[in-house]
Structure formats: C-alpha cells, structure tokens
Symmetry: C2
Subunit: 420 residues, 2 copies
C-alpha cells in the first residue's frame, strides 16, 4: 500500500476542514433536534426524511451522482480517473428516539468532507469515491437493526424489508414512500472496492486510555436471549424458604452468574442483564414469574458459544434446585465479524503517521460496516466518546477528535482508491 512507498504521494498532505465538518454535524443535528440537545430522527419518520433531504442536497452541491435504492439506501458517487468499483465511505443518519448528533451522522458527513477536500485539491483518485447512508441502522423503529445494509449486501430480500412493520404499526414500504425515498436503484447494490466507516466509539475505552484513534479489528458476536422463569406466587411472610419456587431469586442468581462468567472468561467477553420484569412485582409477594434478558458478546465465535452453553447449563441447574421452569428465546444472534487486515493495518499506520495515539479494539456495537464486510474489504475508525455515552442526548465527541478521525479516513480511502 502506498504508505509503505519511499516517495509518499502528493495527496498525503491533504487534510479535511474540521470546522466545516463540525458545522455540518450541527446543522444535521438540528433536524429533529430536541430542546436541550440531541435529536430524534427515527427511521423513515418525517424528521428522517428532512435529514435525508439535507444530506442529499449537500451531496448534489458536491457534484456527486445520487442514487436511491429500493429500500431507501442513498449512495452518492464522485467519479475517479477510471470507471472502476468505488471506494465507499458511509454510515447512517437515523437515530434512536433520544439520540445524539454524532452516532452514524459522523461517518456520513466525514465522507462528504473527504469528498469536498479531494474536490478542492488537484488530486483525482484512480477509483470513484462514494458516500452512502443506509436506512434504519438503529432498528429502533423497524427491527432488525442494520436493515438497510443487510438488504444492500443481499442478506435480506428487499420485499421482506418493505413489509416490515414498525413498533408504531406502520409498514416500512409505506413510510419509505411517504418520505419520498422509495428509489429505483437495485438492491442488493453495487459491491464497492472497499468500505471504510468512521464512527464514534460509543464506549469509554478510548477516553479511558487517552487515545485518539480506535483501530477497529472487527465486531463482537452478539447473543441476545430472553429467559422466562415460571415459579409459584406465594405470600412473602407465610411461605417458608424451603417451600419457595421463586423466579425473582432465580433471575438474580442468573444475573450474578453472567457477571462472574464475563470476569472468568476475561476481556473481550461482556455480559449484561439489562432487563428484569417480575410479576406481580409486589413487596410482599414471591413472584410467580420473571422475564429477563441476557446480552452476551465476544469477538471469538467459539468462546461466545461456550458462554451460551455455560449459561444454559447454569439455568438448568438452578431451575432444578429451585423448582422453577425456564424457557429461552433467542432475540438476536450475530457471529463475530473480522475486518480486512489490510484495511485495519492501513487505519493504524495512517493514524500513527499523523502523530495520533492508537489502540486496536473490537467494536462492541453493531455497525453497517459489518454487513459490508460480507461482500468487500471493510474496516472502521473509532474516535472517543466523552464519558463513553451514546444513544443519549448528551452524546459528545470533541471537534479535535472528529477532525482526527476524518483525516485518517481521508488518507485510508485515498490509498485504497489508488489500488488497481
């Protein structure tokens, strides 16, 4: 790759305009903006439509050719010296109900900033550069999440996506048409030469290590399970401990078990019990049932499967012991994704070349890049999230960090765009 050459290419000194990037982030953040900060642009709502209109207008101002596909994914392309498969940047612009202005948006707007920087230079890359934003990445309105990129890479049928029904009862296809983003470009879409996504970390690791750039090696595999524990409702005062079949107690034992499992397995294993619902949930009644979720993640499929089977074994054991029954439903299961080693190396080398501190890390959250990794060489660049906070109106990343991340993206993309 070009960063290994003796004579660095002339474009090596190009740098994006951090203030321009910041202005676009703020302007897009005002669409669906919430009083006191953050924004709400759930997928395919009117606010999402307005956000799309703004970004598409910017794409056209930059002279890009905009294509909208059958599930609403938008791809804009700047021609290269030759008509080859483009190097694609991108992410998403939909948000959760009370989201921040960086999650997703940064990857799309940094892509536009790369385009504007290149257009303003005398360098024309060999390959076209494209910037995409994929529909419904958050999955907060239409499940599953990463729906647009899932269809883009052919892992879900376009027709199936259009018939998906939202939490508010609306059909994806109808809502897409209502905001004017039912396009005609085919989906699955064109396979790019490579895909690189800049994203905020959404976690506390980079800030904790005072590191500027996260070199993302892959995406953790995810296992979401819902456990329903059925026991025997009983009076908290009159029922001796030995005669109880208490789902609340069993739920607690499981939550403690998964914490211990994560510590025993060590990083990068994480395990979370984020929901517990007892019924009838009264101070003086032993619960009749408990419904809880367990979120297990690991970068190693074998270890993740081991975590699942140890949990299953423990559930069997504790249910026998307490005399309750436990039924398990899988809510989501994704195998771990490894990003392309050359893209990963390039991100690291360019960050270091720009004098930035780096840290190799997996992504704990799902991203469109993991879908694109199914069809092309892919990678990601992370920048720090203040306090590790995301999916929250207080989500924040410093201008310095968004600028650094976009500059790494720029150089990685320009190198990839010179590949034959």
């Amino acid at each position: 790759m070009s960063h290994d050459e003796k004579d660095p290419p002339a474009y090596r000194d190009l740098r994006i305009d951090g203030r321009r990037l910041s202005r676009r982030l703020q302007e897009l953040g005002e669409v669906g903006g919430l009083d006191g900060g953050g924004c709400a642009r759930l997928a395919l709502t009117e606010a999402d439509g307005q956000g799309r209109d703004l970004v598409v207008a910017w794409m056209r101002e930059l002279g890009m050719e905009v294509r909208i596909d059958t599930v609403g994914n938008v791809t804009a392309t700047l021609p290269g010296r030759e008509d080859l498969a483009p190097v694609m940047m991108g992410s998403h612009i939909d948000t959760v109900q009370t989201g921040g202005i960086f999650d997703g948006n940064l990857g799309v707007l940094a892509g536009l900033e790369v385009i504007e920087t290149v257009r303003g230079s005398d360098h024309t890359p060999l390959r076209p550069l494209s910037v995409a934003f994929f529909s419904d990445e958050e999955g907060a309105r239409f499940a599953p999440d990463m729906l647009g990129s899932l269809v883009y890479v052919g892992a879900m049928l376009s027709e199936e996506a259009l018939d998906t029904v939202s939490i508010d009862g609306a059909r994806y296809g109808d809502e897409l048409e209502a905001i004017g983003y039912m396009g005609s470009a085919p989906c699955p879409g064109e396979v790019p030469h490579a895909y690189v996504e800049l994203h905020i970390e959404q976690g506390p690791v980079l800030e904790g290590k005072e590191t500027s750039i996260g070199v993302v090696t892959g995406v953790q595999g995810i296992s979401w399970q819902q456990l329903t524990i059925s026991g025997q409702s009983a009076h908290a005062g009159t029922t001796p401990m030995s005669m109880r079949h208490d789902p609340g107690y069993v739920a607690a034992e499981i939550a403690v078990f998964v914490r211990k499992l994560a510590l025993r397995f060590g990083s990068p294993q994480v395990a979370t019990v984020g929901t517990i619902d007892l019924h009838p949930n009264l101070v003086n009644v032993v619960a009749s049932s408990a419904v809880m979720t367990v979120d297990l993640r690991n970068t190693d499929e074998e270890v993740l499967s081991k975590a699942e089977s140890e949990l299953e074994h423990f559930c069997h054991q504790i249910s026998e012991q307490e005399g309750v029954s436990i039924s398990t439903v899988s809510l989501a299961r994704f195998e771990p994704v490894e990003f392309d080693p050359r893209v990963v190396d390039a991100v690291e080398a360019h960050a270091k070349g720009q004098g930035l501190s780096t840290c190799r890390m997996p992504s704990g959250a799902g991203h469109d890049a993991q879908m694109l990794a199914r069809v092309t060489r892919s990678g990601m660049v992370f920048v720090p999230s203040v306090g590790g906070i995301s999916h929250n109106v207080t989500e924040f990343t410093k201008d310095e960090d968004t600028t650094n991340g976009a500059n790494v993206l720029l150089q990685v993309v320009l190198d990839l765009a010179e590949e034959n």
Copy 2:
C-alpha cells in the same frame, strides 16, 4: 382455665353448624364477586359498603347490639350474664383487588356462627360476646394496612386516619361517609377482656404437615425496605466489565444475599425480593438505576435487627465494590408480637380435645389480632389454605377445616367468657 377442671362445663359439647358458616361465606363472597371466583371489596368502596350492610344485617338478626365507630370499625355485642368487658372475636371483610372469600371474612363469620350457636343453646356466658370487623385491614386501598384496628387500640389518631388518601386519590373520611359507615362510637374503642381471631393460614405449612389447626404463637416482625441503586447507564456492547457501575447487577447480588441470609439464619427467618425495577430496562443498556424491595421477617426482634444490619453491611460493601450508590427507605417496620400464652395454650388444648392435629406456628402475615394484642390478651387460630394460596381468587379452605377452626374458636371463647 375451665378445660383443666375435672367436671367439664355443659357447654363443652356445643358445636357450630359448618353448613351455615359455609353458606354465609359464600353469600358474602358474592358481594363484589368476580367472574370465575374470588371477590373484590377494596376498603370503603361501594362493594365494601354492600358487604358491611350484609354482615350488619346478620348481626341484627342475631339480636346483637351494633356499634359503628368514627373510623368505621363495626362491633356487635351479645349480652352476658353480667355487664363485664366482652370477649371479642373478629377480623376484617375488606379484600385485595382480586382476593378470596376466606381471608378475614372467616374470622368475622365464624364469630357470628359462635353467637348463633350460643344463642341456640341454653348456655348464657358470664361475659358478653362481641364480633368486630375492622376497617381497611388489607391496606390495598389506604395505607397502612390494619388501619382500623390500629386506631381502635389508640396507636393512630382517628383524625389522621380520616385524612388518609387512597391510591385512587380519595379521602378516607369522605369514602367512609359515602358508604354510610362514619359512626359515632368512640375510637379508640372499648378494651375487650380478650380477643380471639380465626383466620386462614395463607401459607402452605399446615397443608404440608397435614395438620388441621395452627396454634398461632405470635406474629412475625416485619421489615420492608426499598433500596434505590444508582449507577451509570452504559452500552452493553462497548463498555468493558471493569468500567461498569451496574445497578442491575448489584440488585441481583442483594437478592441472592438475602436468600442466603434467610437460609443461614434458618426458620422462622424469611426474606423476599418481590420487586425489581431497572431503568431504562433495555436489553443492550447497562441500567442507570434499580429500585428493589426487601421484605425481612422474624419472630425474634433481635434476630430481625441483625438481619437488617447484615443487609446494610452487605449493601455498603457491594456498592463500594461496584461504584454505585444505594439509598434505603423503610416502607414498614413492625416489631414481632407474642400472643398471650394462656390463650395460645387454650387454643392448643381445645383443638387436641376435639381430636384435631395441631402445630404451633408464628403468623407470617399481619392481622388485626396483633393490634388488639397491644391492649388485651389475644390469640389466633389458623386453618389450612389449599396450596398455601391467598390474596388470589383461587384462595380456598375446605368446609371441614373452617368448621374445625370455628369449633376451636367457640370453645376458647366460651372458656374466656367464664373468667371473672
């Protein structure tokens, strides 16, 4: 006491009419009756008023003098040979929202059955006999529970009770007036010579031991605490285990701790976590807060206090370890009550004398008898609950058991009524 005498008194052979008792239980159960069984007569609702009217009509049919006090407690008296303080029987007739037809009602209607049996005999007790039903025992609409008997014994001011506001926003005094039960008899009320209450066990012990009569030695002390655990909301995928401050995990550790504490202390210590509420309660978000309750009960005040202090110590330890804060509010705290040993002995002796199997036990639930125990010699008789189920429409006690319990009540009361 008379059961120790050589020549048993003539009334020793009196027995109540089990079918008549059963019919009254069914008839009262139909007031506020629910489709499919059980009934709903929350305190001071229209249904409670109708239930009161029915019981008061029965009292008058039995020639009793009915008095209603300033918080709606109803006391009916049958004169004795002398105008002494009466021996009182009783309980409550209010129910929880989806309650059974035995809880409380049995104690009141068995009292009427005792009256009817005595009236139909040629025996007139030395002391008057009275039957009371106390307002708002359940506390399901107006907190605290046992409110009527609390005021009756002078532990709460009548004025304070009248100003209590219900879960539905209504004032106790207004609701009492609306159903026509704002009486003029003074409250605190007349102190009876003794108080005996027949009640269903509401637990599984008697059924489990195939025992007919529970000889109730006292009422467990109760400690209800609400713990609010505050941590740091975080992404379940991107936040390493070592950087978490997870209130959900801490709540689980506390629930497991209290179970282990109960097992370590041994019977009669019980400990229950009946409520856990996580916020935001999402599968992929480490909770920011957890609110949970801990219900601790023991018959020994010293041991109960030790349980509380061990819980406090554990909360301190686990909150330090996880980096969360825990605040505790006491929702209720009652010291254990010991019933009068002579009344307890009499219950046991008469049950055995009637050829019934017995078992000494504390009450795990609160009852009006524990309030009366503050001012007079008191005791209780328990009969088995099928499946240990109560506060539920499927609550059930066999006719044979209600009859046995009422016959023990009859003989204990007749003995007490001969005391000078």
